[in-house]
Amino acid sequence: MSGSVDDLNGCEPNLVPILDMVFQLITFFMLVVNFSANEVDRELILPVIGTAAPVEEPSKSELLVLNIRSSGDVFVRGEKQINVDFFLNVEAQTIARLHNVERGKGLPVRVVVRGDNSLKVERVLEVVDLCRSHGFDKFDFVVMRSATSKAGKL
């Protein structure tokens, strides 16, 4: 019987099962919490490619996530970068210093390009070429594997 009757005037429900269920839910949400979600721009509608390879987890290299919106603006960690060239220059110098990378060698950081579906190639290649000129040579172009209500058509 889930409760107890101390005396004839009152009864107390047994809170242990409720607490147990709540802890189960807390454990679930703690396991799926993602503190790096601000690197992903949710305004973007990514291209849909059903045959692309799933994202490798965990990534062995550090990642630099560039979100390119339909307007052509580049967002990094939730902030709009007015001068992309300057930003990439600073990032490249910081990474080279931290990892003791010689001049002319590729940086040990993967650039993750998340571009909106409606972009023209010109803007994407402009950003990619800026990255390459600063020493970034490993790129991941992120797409969606299936269309969602936000993504629209294939």
Binding site: V22, I49, V128, K138, F139
Partner: protein, 173 residues
């Protein structure tokens, strides 16, 4: 009277009561926090590529439309050229000098895929240079890249060494 008190005290001595309400309240607070900060993300995939920095061709300069860019493409034995229409669709697609028949994007890429497989099955053809019209839609470029990177080389690895350069956009059409 004294005896009764002792018996009553002994009867209650082994019983420990814990007030769960406070703990439950804290647990609900934590649960509410995690529910509000939970953002399920869509299933994403990626196309991985190795793109070394461009090397300019000394003295190269071009002004005619659709001319190859001024980047050194030696080391990329397979040249792929994609010209776009004003709407961003594929207007012309060539691989290793062979022009593909143009239909819908899916049909064009399907025939491109078959041709590419035959080319990349040849040992030594392990990298490609894509010259792309800047007017091309990004999602079509991604499909083109996906088609290329899905190719398996004779050694079993995927094609990842791909360079992308822009074609000089055609002046007045």
């Amino acid at each position: 009277m004294r005896r009764n008190t002792r018996r009553k005290r002994n009867r209650n001595a082994g019983k420990v009561e814990l007030n769960m309400a406070a703990m439950l309240d804290m647990a609900f607070q934590l649960l509410a926090f995690f529910i509000l900060t939970f953002h399920p993300s869509d299933v994403e995939a990626q196309i991985s590529m190795l793109m070394p920095p461009p090397k300019p061709i000394p003295g190269a300069a071009g002004t005619s439309k659709n001319e190859l860019p001024v980047e050194d493409s030696t080391g990329f034995p397979i040249e792929i050229t994609c010209v776009a229409s004003s709407t961003g669709e594929i207007e012309k697609l060539q691989i290793a000098g062979h022009s593909m028949a143009i239909g819908t994007t899916e049909q064009t890429l399907a025939s491109f895929s078959d041709r590419a497989q035959a080319i990349f099955d040849t040992p030594g053809n392990d990298s490609a240079q894509i010259h792309v019209d800047p007017k091309l839609r990004y999602d079509i470029l991604i499909k083109l890249l996906d088609t290329c990177t899905n190719r398996k080389l004779p050694n079993g690895e995927r094609l990842t060494r791909i360079g992308i350069t822009q074609l000089k956009s055609a002046t007045a059409q």
